[in-house]
Structure formats: structure tokens, C-alpha cells
């Protein structure tokens, strides 16, 4: 089979699965959904694998979507190492998570069950379209569609008001990003007259030959880069458009694992990596990426300390890890950012799915204070969660150590850049806090005595279909790091070699000092992890700090005061003072007028009296005849 057909198949499998499930599939027995829902994702995985093994590379155009003068948008798929890498993450980790959902969603009734897998397949399709598109227009299509499927899945339990509100919030935040993306594409198109990646990048190379400093006349490029960054920030839940992600935890846990940890929220990282030629030139926007990433990481880490909802802790942790990825791609260490993306997909999906096991057993209770002592009842889940946690903290030899160390090491050793060293400090501090809040989460949930408020005395063990994906991810989180062990100088660098063909090899290497500092950070983080069993967060001794963190730095309140409430007020005024008295009145009075003309006024014409009709007739004849006579006489 040709590569072009295979590339299209990657997309068609999940699309077909979604169509079948939405069409007649949900009426069929549940086993049909169980096979089709995860099956199509695995088929995409196989297609991706076939392309990978065939060393596929190329830009395949299938048809022209829009053509207007010199503007044309082809439907084309770009197969290169970066898009294949992303496809592996999406279909591989996605396949595991969708398979896990077979067990997690078992309590849903038939139609809801099929609806869930239909949405999941729509999401996988959209995300694959996002990473495979070979032009900015289809990138935006995929970008908006992942936002849509995220909305659908957050609001999956639409009977719950909080879920609907969270879904709406996520959608609005994402649309802000979509607008940024679209405006950024406009700016690019106006200046280089192309929306395809190859067209844009070719023009960039012409406008800005290698090693020349073209900052002087690249104002529009900075503008485009900043606008695209707005999209990346909104999608990846970075400051200041992050508030939707913690609320998005209202969705089912597999959704949080797939969309709000492993894939969709990393789209911003993908975008910056894909557009790295732009960001390499647009230095201000590039620096902004790194600063936003580092600041978000520290910001979210402090909030994660005080959260009590296990999924919310994981959500803030996701913001932190994506912050690291932004930091990496922001300083130009692209392949390090993508390695962390992969590693994060492994261990965060693992954490979410293991947390899902707990939540499932606890009858949807998510408050960690009501768990306690789960170690005794859910041994395997506790161990896998511990593996994920330690990987998140960055303990040797788990995958998180290698990826996080690579980012921090490269940040520390970036030559001639004091700002990046400050960002390293922020990142290292975040790594320590990560050790603490992760430890707090693990000890609180799994250690100690069972909480008296625990909803289930003896939680049941997760089903096999749930445990196998969790165990697989745990294995990946343990051994995954060995494909890229540059941090320890072991010389394996599969990821950066693979991606280097697209994003370029790292321009500099870790210094020995950076590696040593990384090891120290890791040890301190691990110590804090262990210490979290006993230490309470310092903020609990400072009431105002505790409140500040529990209210999440008042971001939601500020947005409510700045945007939501003024809008509500305007809407209220419009409703009370415009809609009701003006528009409604106009409509009602128009109706009344019609009734008057049709009933009151014209009923008198229709008396039913024969002589009235004759009289009208006679008067008419006399008037017309008389008029004719008078006209004749006058002329």
C-alpha cells in the first residue's frame, strides 16, 4: 500500500469508527462498541507503525479544498518524523486509554456507552488531523475540532451542571486561542501568500537567509508568532488562559488522561515545534514561550500543593509539565521538549488511569482526604501510581528523569543567555515542589489509615481490561527513558536523532555541572516526596497564603469580575431594557396590528348583507362610469 493511502488511513479509521458508532452502532449490542471504539485507534496505530517501518516521508496532497485566485488550500497530509512521532503518542497512548475506557465506562447505559467511544474516536481523528495537516488551514480545522471534542467529553455527563459549565468554560477559552491562530495565519498569508507549511517556510528562508539577523524587518513575523502563541497557550492551558484545565477534570477520567494530559494539551508544544522556523527568527515571541512555560510551571506547582481533589492535582501537574515543554521549545531545545511530551504522555496517562482505578472503586469520590490506606486494598494500582509519581518527580531510572533532566540541563547550559538561567532556576524550584505535592498526593491516598469518610470499605480490584493498560503504561514509564539517555551520558538519543531531521539537532550540549545539578535536584525532589508523608505544606501555617492558593491566585475571580460579570450585566440590561420593551414589544404590536387590520377593520367589509355588496358594486360602476364621462367631457 502506498504511503499516501496509509497516511489517509490513519485518519480514516477513527473517523469511520465515530461515524459507525454515531449512526447505527449504538443500537447494536455493547460488544460492537467495545470492539469498534478502541479497535479503530489501534488500526491507526498499525498504520502509523507501517509508515514508520517504511521510513515514510513526504507531503501528500489528495484534493484541493478551496481555490480562489492565487489562494488555494489543498487537503494534504505531511508525513515526517515529527508528525509520525505525534501519531505514535496519539494512537499508542490513545489506544491504551480508549481500551481502558471499556472497563471504566461500564456503568453507562448502551447509548451513552457508544456515545463516549464515538466522542473519543472523533477526538483521535481531530488530533491526528491536527498533527498530520500540511497547511495552516487544516491545522486550524483540527485545532478547533479537538476543542470541540474536548467540549463534548468534558460535558459528557451533561446531567451534571458543573460538567456543563466546565465544558463551556473550556470551549470559550479554546476559542480565544482559535481566534489567535486564525489571526496569526492571516498575518502569515498576507505576508508570504501561502498557508502551507512548505510555502511559508520557503518564503522565510528566502526572506531571512541563514545566520542573517533579520529582526529589523520582521515585525509581522513577531506578530504572527505571538498570535499563534495565543492559540498554543489556550490549548495547552498556560498562563493566563489556563483556568479551564482544572475544571475540565469534570469529564470522565479516561478523557482527562487522553485529552487533558497526554495529547490535546500538548498541541501547543507541537505548534511551536512545527513552526520552529518562525520562532527561531521571531526572538521575542520565542522568549515569551519559554517565560510563559517556566512561570506557568512554578505558578501551577504552588497551587497543586493545596488541592485535595486527586484529579485536580494531576491537572495542575499537567500544566507544570507542559510548562517544562514550553520552556524547552522556548529556549530552542525542541527535541528535548518533544521527548518530555512523550515521557509525560506515558507517566501522566499512567497517573490518570491509576487514579481512575481508585475513583472507579471509590464510586466517583475524588477527594484524596477521603481515601487513605488504599495500599492494603489496591496493591497493584498503588504500585503503578507510585511508578507514575516517581517518574513525575524525576527519579532515576524512570522516564521522567531523563526528559526533565534534559530540559533543565539544556536550559542551564545554554550559552550566553542569562535569562534562560533564571528560567532554569524557576524550573528547578518547580521540580522540588513537584516532589512535594506528588508525595503528598501519594501518601494521602494510599498510605496511612483508611479515612472514616471513605465511601467504600473494601474497594474492588480493577478489571483486567483496566489493569492491562495501566500496567503497560507503568512498564513504558520505567523503560521509556532508555531510548534517550543523553542526560547521563549513556549516548542513546533515539528521540533527538529521530526528531532532529525536522526540528534540528540541539545547538548545544549539557555541561557536566548541569547534569550534577540535575541529579541534586532529583535527589532533593525525591527527599521531598518521601518527606511529604510527614511535612505539611508551609502554606498551611500562613492562613492568607493558604487561602491565596486554594483560590488559585484568584484567577477565576478576576476573570469573573473582569469579563463574566460585566458581560452578564450587559446581557441583563439588553434583556430587560432592550429585548423586552423594544424587540418583544415590536413583535407583539406587529401581531396586534395584523389582528386589527385582518379582524376589526376588515370584518365590516364583510357584512353578509347582499344589499351592501350590491351598493358597493353600483357605487363603483357609477364612479367609474361617471369618471369616464367627466374625462371625456374635459378632453
Amino acid at each position: 500500500m502506498s504511503n499516501a493511502a496509509l497516511a489517509l488511513l490513519i485518519l480514516l479509521f477513527p473517523a469511520g469508527g465515530a461515524v459507525v458508532l454515531a449512526g447505527r452502532g449504538w443500537r447494536l449490542p455493547r460488544i460492537f462498541t467495545v470492539i469498534v471504539g478502541p479497535g479503530v485507534v489501534w488500526l491507526s496505530f498499525i498504520a502509523t507503525m507501517a509508515l514508520f517501518l517504511g521510513n515514510a516521508n513526504g507531503d501528500f496532497t489528495y484534493w484541493t479544498w478551496i481555490k480562489s485566485g492565487s489562494f488555494s488550500v489543498p487537503f494534504g497530509l505531511l508525513i515526517d518524523n515529527l508528525s509520525l512521532f505525534m501519531c505514535f503518542v496519539i494512537t499508542g497512548v490513545g489506544g491504551l486509554i480508549v481500551t481502558y475506557s471499556v472497563g471504566y465506562m461500564e456503568h453507562e447505559d448502551g447509548p451513552s456507552y457508544a456515545r463516549f467511544f464515538c466522542y473519543m474516536d472523533i477526538f483521535v481523528f481531530s488530533m491526528l488531523l491536527l498533527v498530520l495537516a500540511d497547511n495552516l488551514v487544516f491545522l486550524i480545522v483540527g485545532w478547533a475540532m479537538v476543542g470541540l471534542s474536548s467540549y463534548l467529553l468534558i460535558g459528557f455527563w451533561y446531567q451534571r451542571r458543573s460538567a456543563v459549565l466546565a465544558a463551556r468554560k473550556a470551549f470559550v477559552m479554546n476559542v480565544i486561542g482559535d481566534v489567535g491562530m486564525i489571526l496569526g495565519t492571516f498575518v502569515l498569508f498576507v505576508n508570504v501568500h501561502s498557508v502551507s507549511y512548505s510555502g511559508v517556510f520557503d518564503s522565510l528562508v528566502r526572506l531571512c537567509p541563514a545566520n542573517s539577523n533579520c529582526n529589523g524587518d520582521s515585525g509581522w513575523l513577531e506578530l504572527a508568532a505571538f498570535l499563534l502563541l495565543v492559540g498554543a497557550i489556550a490549548k495547552s492551558a498556560q498562563l493566563p488562559l489556563h483556568t479551564w484545565l482544572p475544571d475540565a477534570m469534570e469529564g470522565p477520567t479516561p478523557v482527562s488522561a487522553l485529552i487533558h494530559a497526554a495529547t490535546m494539551v500538548t498541541a501547543g508544544v507541537y505548534l511551536v515545534g512545527r513552526m520552529h522556523l518562525i520562532y527561531d527568527i521571531a526572538t521575542y515571541a520565542h522568549a515569551a514561550v519559554a517565560i510563559i512555560g517556566a512561570v506557568t510551571a512554578l505558578f501551577a506547582a504552588t497551587i497543586a500543593i493545596v488541592q485535595v481533589d486527586i484529579k485536580r492535582v494531576l491537572a495542575y501537574s499537567t500544566m507544570i509539565q507542559i510548562g517544562y515543554m514550553f520552556l524547552a521549545v522556548g529556549i530552542g531545545a525542541y527535541s528535548a521538549g518533544f521527548f518530555h511530551l512523550l515521557s509525560h504522555a506515558f507517566f501522566k496517562a499512567l497517573l490518570f488511569l491509576a487514579a481512575g482505578n481508585v475513583i472507579h472503586a471509590m464510586h466517583d469520590e475524588q477527594d484524596m482526604r477521603k481515601y487513605g490506606g488504599l495500599w492494603r486494598d489496591m496493591r497493584l494500582t498503588s504500585i503503578t501510581f507510585l511508578v507514575g509519581s516517581l517518574s513525575l518527580v524525576g527519579v532515576i531510572p524512570l522516564v521522567g528523569f531523563f526528559s526533565k533532566e534534559q530540559i533543565l540541563g539544556l536550559a542551564f547550559s545554554k550559552p550566553d543567555d542569562a535569562m534562560v538561567q533564571i528560567l532554569w532556576l524557576v524550573g528547578a524550584a518547580t521540580a522540588l515542589i513537584t516532589g512535594f505535592y506528588t508525595g503528598r498526593m501519594w501518601w494521602l491516598s494510599f498510605w496511612g489509615k483508611p479515612s472514616p469518610q471513605r465511601p467504600v470499605e473494601h474497594p474492588h480490584a480493577p478489571r483486567l481490561v483496566m489493569m492491562v493498560p495501566v500496567a503497560t503504561l507503568a512498564v513504558l514509564a520505567i523503560v521509556g527513558g532508555f531510548i534517550e539517555t543523553r542526560a547521563l551520558g549513556l549516548g542513546l538519543s533515539a528521540v533527538s536523532d529521530f526528531l532532529g531531521k525536522v526540528v534540528g539537532p540541539p545547538a548545544w550540549e549539557d555541561t557536566g555541572v548541569a547534569v550534577a545539578l540535575g541529579l541534586v535536584t532529583m535527589l532533593l525532589g525525591a527527599a521531598l516526596f518521601a518527606g511529604a508523608m510527614r511535612i505539611r505544606p508551609w502554606s498551611s501555617y500562613v492562613p492568607w497564603a493558604q487561602t491565596l492558593l486554594e483560590r488559585k491566585y484568584y484567577f477565576d475571580d478576576i476573570y469573573a469580575a473582569a469579563f463574566v460579570r460585566p458581560l452578564d450585566w450587559v446581557a441583563g440590561v439588553a434583556f430587560r431594557d432592550v429585548e423586552r420593551p423594544v424587540i418583544d414589544a415590536a413583535v407583539v404590536d406587529t401581531g396586534r396590528l395584523t389582528r386589527w387590520t385582518s379582524v376589526e377593520a376588515s370584518r365590516n367589509l364583510q357584512t353578509g348583507y347582499f344589499r351592501n355588496y350590491v351598493l358597493v358594486f353600483v357605487v363603483g360602476v357609477v364612479a367609474i362610469g361617471g369618471g369616464l364621462v367627466i374625462m371625456r367631457a374635459l378632453s
Partner: protein, 109 residues
């Protein structure tokens, strides 16, 4: 104004037309003011015959037979119309006692 020769005496055509107009007006007023349906039908006949008189007058004056033919035609139509009208009246009388056309105002809006 030309004169017509009626049985040897000469008479101005306008007298005939005037008579026709008076008869027509009587018929029209009858239709308008009378309430008995039979009388209304009679008044309609009166108007038709007034029109016939006009037709015949002009036919004679213009020495053109078409007018007289048309008068015959109009009498036929009048007869047919009277048949239909009377049939409707008979039908109405069967159902109800309608001495007054104002009682037949079911089509009032």
C-alpha cells in the same frame, strides 16, 4: 340626435334611452332597498330588460341587427338566470322561512 320611426310617428332616440335609464335605476334601487328575495329577482329582471331596451334602441338607430340579436341572447340568459335564482330561493325556503335577505347573512366576517 337622430329620430326613430315607430309605427309611422317620428320619435327622438333619447326618449327610449331615458326610459331605459329610468327602468334600470328603478331596478337598481329595487335591488338595493327591497328585502324580499322575490322582489329582488324581479328588480334584476327589470334591469336586464332596461338594458335590452338600450340594445334594441341603438340597433335601430344604427341600422345594425347585432344589437337585436344580442337582446335575444340577453333574454335567454335572463331566463336561465331566473331559473337558477328561483331554484336557489326554493331551496332556501325549504330549509327556512326567509322573507328577508338580511336574514341570509351567514357569510358575515
Amino acid at each position: 340626435m337622430s329620430t326613430l320611426d315607430i309605427g309611422g310617428s317620428q320619435l327622438d332616440a333619447s326618449w327610449f334611452l331615458l326610459l331605459s335609464a329610468v327602468l334600470f335605476s328603478l331596478g337598481a334601487v329595487g335591488v338595493l332597498v327591497r328585502r324580499n328575495p322575490l322582489v329582488i329577482l324581479i328588480s334584476i329582471e327589470l334591469m336586464l330588460n332596461a338594458a335590452n331596451l338600450t340594445l334594441v334602441t341603438f340597433s335601430r338607430q344604427l341600422q345594425n341587427m347585432e344589437g337585436q340579436l344580442f337582446a335575444l341572447m340577453s333574454m335567454t340568459v335572463a331566463a336561465a338566470e331566473a331559473v337558477v335564482g328561483l331554484a336557489i330561493l326554493v331551496d332556501i325556503f325549504r330549509v327556512r322561512d326567509a322573507e328577508d335577505v338580511d336574514d341570509l347573512s351567514e357569510l358575515k366576517g
